[in-house]
Every structure is written in structure tokens, then in C-alpha cells.
């Protein structure tokens, strides 16, 4: 594998809209994604997956498969040399299933062959005998059914002791007087379907044996070092014998936090002593990675007659699927943000995530805040209606801000301009309704040519939401950066921050250029081999953390070079954000100064046209104001807002992984629909730049707030157009029509 450093960044410091450093290779097709890699003597790996959501494995017979043409290896759990289980936070997931399978598509065996077709044919000859078991598919009943993990891997981690079977984590936040009464009460039950990250680049990578017992894995991932730390013990290798290198990433959105082919490719490569490439197809991608947690949320809002929130009571049930992944943190996030960016003196919030045999869930952009935002914003509109108060005024009246507190007792010490984003979004001019006749492409139903204007009603919706930036609850979250500064002023920056498309490579280079005052800066390949961990490209943390680490390393390098008389230096620095501590397991209150580091908020206004007779929608226009701290690259920031908005719009209108008895029934882009060019309206973005005091250059993460808020805002517009409650997303035509 050849790896080269990035080209030099010719222009741009912090605050400039510098074109992407990888832009040219991406438009010419030269950029090497993880599925593009090849090596001499390379074999193709293939994963044999469970056709059952829950079954006992009676036997696995590989004898026929091993003799098939072109086949070099057929592996099962018996061939895993080290730990049999791995996991992002809890090692509860088998490398290859043994004894039983707990979800549809769970990996059971591996094949390596010279051509993928040979691998597929051999895979078809592996005889796995299953004894189907009753799947746990109803999260509301899961806590009464037999445990899927009798050893309770997530227990005894300082979480609340919940003895019910199949609880991944439950959290209770008791704030003020949870029984306090208001003068007006509104309640509702809300549901969110399973959303998929649906990144376009399928899971893929190349594992190359190093000839000395170790392995190099070139893969699309979000966190190189945590991959290494999961892979090495299962291979019975030392961490330094496993080197994870970032290959080109075709989108991530949380879906690459967990391992995909890393371990499997490495196992096959070490077994065959040949490079092994694994590329999932789209169907396999849908079953092979975690999804956004589906949720059911019961909410009750009590307020005074003039609209001041008195007490908010919320119960959240999340379906985590078969393995823990990052479910414990999603459970906590959903609880932390259940009230929304509003000040309330009293609250009772219960958040529970359960194990089931449904598709496994974990990280996706918005991470627990998306689900609750859909609920709290529907509740705020409902309350406004009950009180006959303008919904924007109601939000402003209750807006949280610096000095206010979350239900966890944590004071807002940094910036959080909730009232400002509400006002700025509400001020945006919305377009006039277009005249008829129009091309059907400009009407609900689009290319389907279903209306010339019949049945079309217009609605305007509004929502506001917020989310934490960075890892929370005591996680030791850090990012390393290393700078090699030569005597001539040229520099090479090493940072393992995963460039997943969000633009962190530019952040690193723009910061280095700002600090070093030089354009002669290149970014070295992202790898575990040359630099310490950067943490994950997730939780809207990477810009903040990478900027902090690179800034500190650059400043240290300049200082050191000055001290040694201008000779070349090579320094590595670790950056940490302010320390957090866990929530109290019994009360959900903070145990130190903070459980979260910082927050970012966004408000959004949506105009939609709905064909109320057919239940079809065209979103016409979206305007948003977002709290971004400081925009390191404004063009990239608006790109994040537009893209994040599209994902929330998708959840509102069309995106859902469907299941039957735990089996996914729409694992394709034919039936799992994401927005097309005809579904996304123009997005007007207002950036509110208020520097975050604890952050380098005052930056905040920007990736998640648009996704958090857009689902809620789009559905609000649909409610305004239809007069229907619409309590579940994605909203189906049936719901609008009232069937």
C-alpha cells in the first residue's frame, strides 16, 4: 500500500472558506476509497450471515466449502485466536457467532477466495444448522422476556441497578419536584422508526499481513485507535501489531463507529498470509451496521396559564437491538435533552434502552437528541395551541440560556444562544406561494405527476433543538496531534482524526497554517502507527478536538524550535476538553461540575406543501439559524447544515428500516428511500458566531444540530398543512390521509 501525505494547502486560515484539500482527487476519481484498494495476490473475503433474528446454532459444517475452486480459507468462531467477543464499549458481540445468533445478518463464517464469485459460491456450501428461537421483537415486552445476554455486560458500570431482563441501561432524572402541578397540561405519545445512516460508500477495506504475525488494515472508519483496541485482543496480538490506516471514507454519520470488516479481514489475511479485501454490497451494508435507535416517547408538559413550563415528564424507550454498541450513551443523551432547550424547574425523565432481536442500533448523527426533539417540539406546539399563544413566543418565553440549568442540574456555563437562534430563524422571509399551473416536479408527488394542484395545502412549521458537543459522563476524551516542523518552516501534521467527508482535514490544515504562519504544511496519512488517538469523528467533537490538539502541537513546536536555535522539531501534544463526570445513578443529577462539555442549538423554519388527499409532500423551503461558535470554514459549515437537514428531512418523510419478526424487509436503495434532488428544497442558513469560551478559537461542532431539529420542523409544517397530529416518523401517506 502506498500512502502519501496531502498536497499543500495553498490558502486559508481559520475562518476562511478554503476549498477541500481532497476536492480535486475526489472530482477526478483518483481519491482512493476503502473499496478501491488492491494489492498483489489479493483475495476476496465474504461474510456468511444469519438468516434468523434469533436461533441456536446446532452445527456448522464447512467441509464442502473448503474444497471449492479458488477458496483459500473458510473460518468460523473456532478460528478466532483471542477474545471471542468485542464491542465499542462493552465486549458483548461475537467476532463470529457461537452458540446462538441474536440478529438477522449476524456474521457466522468467513470465506476468502480469488474472485468474489468463488467466495459467494463457497459461502453457499457452508451448512449451518439453526434451531430457530422466538425472537424478542417488542421493546415494550422485552423486559419480561428471557434475557438475550444472561451475563448482563452493561451492568456494574456505575449505571442505575435495573434488575429487569434485557435492560441495556436505564436512567432516571429527578429534577426539582417531579410531582409539581401546572395550570395547563398537554400530553402525547411519539414514535420514531429505525433510521439508517445510508452512507454511500459501503463498508470495505483491505487487510494486509505484515509477514511477522501482525496486520495492517486499511479501512473506512471513524476512530482508528478504538478499532485497533477491539481488533488486537481478538487476534491475540499486541496493539502495535495491529495498525489501522484510514482509507477513503464514503460517509459515516455514526455508522462506522462500530467494527465492520476490520476483524474479519484481519482474520482472513493472517490465516491465508495474503492481502484480503472485503466489500459489502448495499444489502449487506444495511444488515451489517448499526442504525439509529427507534424510540417510543411518552411526554407530559405542565405549564402556567401564561406559558411558563412548570414540569416536564418524559418516558423514553429505545430499542438497542442485539448488542450494546453505544446504546448506553444514547440512553443518557436522550434523557439529558428530553425537555429540549428550555428552562424548567421540575422534571421527571426516565430513559430505558433494551436488548431485542431487532436490528442492532448505535450511533447516528444526533445520537438520542433527534428522537426527543421530535417529541418535545410536538409538545411545545401542542402547548402553544392549548394556551392560544404564538408557538415562537412560547419557545422564547421558556428558552434556556447561559446561567440556566439542565434537568441534570448542570449549569450552562458556555454559550447557548437559544433565544437568538429562535428569533433569527423566525425572522427569515418565507417565499410566496408559487402560482399554478406548474410542472409536476414542483408539486407534491414530483415526477409521479399526481396533482396539478388538487388537494395541495401549504403549512409552515418551526422547531428548535440542541445537543451536546463532545463525549460526556466522565469519558476520558482526548485528541493527539504531532507536528514535525523543519528548519525551513515546512511542516507535516499527524493527527488520526478521521476525515469522513465532514472536512476535518481542512480544519487541521487551516489551524496549522494559522498557528505556524506558513502555507508549507501537509497532513500526513491518518494512521495508528505514527500518532496517538484522536478519538472518534462523532458527537460533533472532531473540529473542536482536532483544532485544540493541532493548535497546541503547533505552538509547542514553534517554542521548541526557538529554544533549540531553529533546528527541526517533532512534537506530539494531547488536547483534552474540560473534564466531565458521570450522572448520579439514582437521581440522574451531575456528580461534579458537568456531565456534558458544551452544547449547540439550532432553530429551523420549514415551508411544505402537502397533497392532503394522497398524503404526498413537497418541502418548499427551509430556513435555519444555528449556533456554530466560530466557523473555521464557513462554506463547509453551511454544507454540514444543508446535509444534516436533508437527513432529518429523510427521517420525517421517508426513511425507515422495516422489519418483520426481526428480519429487515427493505435492505436496498429501492425500498429504503433517502431524499433525492427533487426532495430537498433550498436551505437558507444563518450562522450565529458566538465564541465558546473553553474551545479553541471559540469553535463548536456543527454536524448534528441540523439533523436534530429538521425532523421536528418538517413534521411541524406537515401538521400545519394537514391539521393532523402526526405522532410518528417517518410520516406515511396513510397518516396524512387518515387511513
Amino acid at each position: 500500500m502506498s500512502e502519501t501525505a496531502s498536497p499543500k494547502l495553498e490558502l486559508g486560515r481559520v475562518g476562511d472558506s478554503t476549498p477541500r484539500i481532497d476536492g480535486v482527487p475526489k472530482v477526478t476519481g483518483e481519491f482512493a476509497y476503502s473499496s478501491d484498494l488492491q494489492a498483489a495476490g489479493m483475495l476476496w473475503g465474504h461474510t456468511v450471515r444469519s438468516p434468523h433474528a434469533h436461533a441456536r446454532i446446532v452445527s456448522i459444517d464447512i467441509s464442502e466449502a473448503v474444497g471449492m475452486p479458488g477458496v483459500h480459507a473458510v473460518l468460523t468462531h473456532e478460528d478466532v485466536p483471542g477474545e471471542k467477543r468485542y464491542g465499542l464499549e462493552f465486549a458483548d458481540q461475537p467476532v463470529l457467532a457461537y452458540e446462538r445468533v441474536r440478529y438477522y445478518g449476524e456474521p457466522v463464517a468467513l470465506v476468502a477466495a480469488e474472485h468474489p464469485e468463488q467466495a459467494r459460491r463457497a459461502a453457499g456450501r457452508i451448512r449451518v444448522e439453526y434451531e430457530p428461537l422466538e425472537p424478542v421483537v417488542d421493546p415494550e415486552r422485552a423486559t419480561e422476556q428471557d434475557p438475550l445476554h444472561p451475563d448482563r455486560p452493561t451492568m456494574s458500570h456505575g449505571y442505575r441497578d435495573d434488575p429487569r431482563p434485557n435492560v441495556v441501561r436505564s436512567l432516571l432524572i429527578r429534577h426539582g419536584d417531579p410531582e409539581a402541578d401546572g395550570e395547563v397540561t398537554v400530553s402525547g405519545v411519539y414514535e420514531v422508526g429505525i433510521q439508517d445512516q445510508a452512507f454511500l460508500g459501503p463498508e470495505s477495506g483491505l487487510a494486509v499481513p505484515d509477514g511477522e504475525g501482525g496486520v495492517d488494515v486499511y479501512v473506512a472508519t471513524q476512530w482508528l485507535h478504538v478499532d485497533r483496541d477491539q481488533v488486537a485482543p481478538c487476534l491475540n496480538l499486541k496493539p502495535e501489531q495491529v495498525r489501522i490506516h484510514l482509507a477513503g471514507v464514503g460517509g459515516a454519520f455514526g455508522g462506522r463507529e462500530d467494527l465492520s470488516m476490520q476483524l474479519h479481514g484481519a482474520l482472513l489475511a493472517l490465516h491465508t498470509d495474503r492481502p484480503v479485501k472485503i466489500v459489502y454490497n448495499r444489502e449487506e451494508s444495511f444488515v451489517g451496521h448499526i442504525h439509529r435507535h427507534p424510540a417510543k416517547i411518552w411526554a407530559e408538559h405542565r405549564s402556567t396559564r401564561d406559558g411558563k413550563l412548570v414540569n416536564v415528564r418524559v418516558r423514553i424507550l429505545l430499542d438497542g437491538g442485539a448488542y450494546a454498541s453505544s446504546s448506553t450513551a444514547v440512553t443518557s443523551n436522550a434523557a439529558s435533552f428530553a425537555v429540549g432547550p428550555y428552562a424548567v424547574d421540575n422534571a421527571l425523565i426516565e430513559s430505558t434502552c433494551v436488548y431485542t432481536n431487532n436490528p442492532p442500533c448505535g450511533a447516528m448523527r444526533g445520537f438520542g437528541a433527534v428522537q426527543v426533539c421530535f417529541a418535545h417540539e410536538a409538545q411545545m406546539d401542542k402547548l402553544a395551541e392549548a394556551l392560544d399563544i404564538d408557538p415562537i413566543e412560547l419557545r422564547l418565553l421558556n428558552a434556556l440560556g447561559p446561567g440556566g440549568s439542565l434537568p441534570t442540574g448542570q449549569k450552562i456555563t458556555g454559550t447557548l444562544p437559544v433565544a437568538d437562534v429562535i428569533r433569527r430563524a423566525a425572522e427569515l422571509d418565507i417565499p410566496e406561494q408559487e402560482e399554478l399551473p406548474r410542472d409536476p416536479m414542483r408539486l407534491p408527488g414530483g415526477s409521479g405527476n399526481t396533482t396539478r394542484g388538487e388537494g395541495v395545502r401549504r403549512g409552515v412549521g418551526f422547531a428548535v433543538g440542541f445537543k451536546n458537543i463532545g463525549y460526556s459522563e466522565g469519558f476520558d476524551d482526548y485528541t493527539a496531534a504531532r507536528v514535525r516542523l523543519d528548519a525551513d518552516g515546512s511542516a507535516e501534521v499527524h493527527c488520526a482524526a478521521a476525515e469522513v467527508g465532514q472536512g476535518v482535514a481542512n480544519v487541521i490544515l487551516q489551524v496549522a497554517r494559522t498557528e505556524l504562519g506558513s502555507s508549507d504544511v501537509v497532513l500526513a496519512p491518518h494512521t495508528t502507527a505514527t500518532v496517538d488517538s484522536a478519538g472518534s469523528a462523532s458527537a460533533s467533537r472532531m473540529t473542536w478536538m482536532a483544532a485544540g490538539a493541532v493548535r497546541d502541537a503547533c505552538r509547542a513546536a514553534l517554542e521548541e524550535r526557538q529554544q533549540n536555535g531553529g533546528k527541526a522539531v517533532d512534537v506530539e501534544r494531547i488536547y483534552r476538553h474540560p473534564r466531565t463526570t458521570p450522572l448520579d445513578p439514582e437521581t440522574g443529577q451531575i456528580t461534579g461540575e458537568r456531565a456534558h462539555v458544551a452544547y449547540a442549538c439550532a432553530a429551523m423554519r420549514v415551508v411544505a406543501e402537502v397533497d392532503v388527499e394522497l398524503g404526498l409532500t413537497r418541502v418548499v423551503w427551509i430556513g435555519t439559524a444555528q449556533d456554530v461558535g466560530k466557523a473555521v470554514n464557513p462554506q463547509a459549515v453551511t454544507g454540514q447544515i444543508e446535509g444534516g437537514t436533508a437527513q432529518g428531512l429523510g427521517l420525517a418523510l421517508m426513511e425507515e428500516i422495516q422489519t418483520r419478526d426481526g428480519l429487515i424487509t427493505n435492505a436496498s436503495f429501492t425500498d429504503y428511500l433517502i431524499p433525492t434532488t427533487l426532495d430537498m428544497p433550498p436551505v437558507v442558513s444563518v450562522l450565529i458566531e458566538e465564541a465558546e469560551p473553553d474551545a479553541p478559537y471559540g469553535v463548536k461542532g456543527v454536524g448534528e444540530p441540523p439533523t436534530v431539529v429538521s425532523t421536528a420542523a418538517v413534521v411541524a409544517a406537515l401538521r400545519a398543512a394537514t391539521g393532523r397530529e402526526l405522532t410518528r416518523v417517518p410520516v406515511k401517506p396513510d397518516d396524512i390521509v387518515g387511513l
Partner: protein
Amino acid sequence: MDVLTPRSLEEALRLKAERPDAVPIQGGTDVMVELNFDRARPAVLLNLNEVAELRGWSQADGKVWLGAGLTYSEAMEPKLAEALPALAEASRTVGGPQIRNRGTIGGNLGTASPAGDALPPLLVCGAEVKLASVLGERVVSLEEFLVGPKRNVLAEDELILGVTVDTGDESRQTFMKVGPRNAMVIAVVSLAVRVDGDLRAAFGSAGPVSKLVRAELADADSFPQRVAEAASPIDDVRGTASYRRHALRILTKRALDRCLV
């Protein structure tokens, strides 16, 4: 697996007679998905791309001939769109431009999916399908051709040559397709309507096969209900039976409003 690429219709029919298990492939929009996802491994693929006789269209005496290799993009071109507006509208709803550039009318007939977008417009235009083998040609009405979901009367030694459709004198027609997003969808339900002396509607994705419903002009008021009642939709991953029936009523009403001017 073998790939056979005939250069003429005669050669294609001969190869099909010799290898009746050969799967014809033209635009590949259905067959390639089966291959890419390991759902089918035919012993032989019969590549029809080089058979010039299957291409193009022609018009004479109120009839239009559509070669089996006619693409959706070609069906959208102004001259043909004028003769067969519902087919042009249906074609505009098919996939994205890449699919419309490759997918063909013949492929839609061969696959015989209940969701085939070309089928309702062809049904309301009285399409007759011409089939051929080395033994000769035969013509069957499209209604007879479609016998079940993904099943048709094509014999294993036959190929689809094309269809003849009746453009009518004063025909007014339209096509509509419901999907949960505004482009690139498989029909949740679709409908073609033609008004030309009588009322004709044909629906897709609302029964095991696309089906034609006819009525007198005087029965326009009850026609939406009749069309909905003629359907036998199911619940599936794309939609519910009750929605499909409901949508058919709305679509038929709107289609009549467009066509009864």
C-alpha cells in the same frame, strides 16, 4: 455461465431455440440486479443489445409500433410523446435518467412486474404484443400476455419483438404514479387513464397484474369507485392495501378531470 451476443433477430431467435434456458438481457435494469445480488445465476445470458431489428418505433394508420428495445428516454421524445402521452408521462416517472436511458419497453413486458410503469399506459392503448420464435410469430393482447406477478405467456423459445398500440383519434390520456418521494420510486400505486369514446383505466401495483377497467363515458361519476373496486391490492413494504385503494379513487377522479375537458 455463457454470454451470447447475436447480431440479428434471426440469430437471436436461433440461439433462443438452441438454448431455451437463455435469459434475455437488453437494458439490464432488472437482470443485472439479480446478478449483482446473487439472486439468479442463469446458465446463459442472451445479450440483445446488438439486434437492430428490436430498436425504434414507427407510426401508421392510427397505430404505433414500439420495438422491444425502445428505451424510456426514447418514449419521452416529443414526436412519440405526442402520439402516446401517457406512455411518455409514465416514462418520466421511471428511475433516474440513467435508468430511462437503458430500461426498455420489452424489458418491462418480459419482467411483467405488477409495478411495471409502461404497462398501464400500454393497456389503455389496447397494446398487442408480438412474440417470435424460429417457428414463427404470434400476437397476443397485453391483457392476455400478463398472467401473474412476474409471469407472462412468453414461451421458452420466444422473444418479445415489440408492441402495437392504438393512438386513437381524439384520445386524451394521462399517467400518474404515487411514491413516498418525489423521484426514483417503484410505484406504490399507478394509474393510466384514456378517454376516447369510452373510459379506460389501467392500474399498477394494485393487484397481481396490471389490469384494464372500461366504462361508458356516461359512467364517469362512478368510474373512480369502479377502478378502486377492480383492484386487489396487498399490504407490503411499500404501502398498504387500504391506501392503494384510496389513492386509486383519487387518482382516477383527477385523471378524468384532466381528460374530460
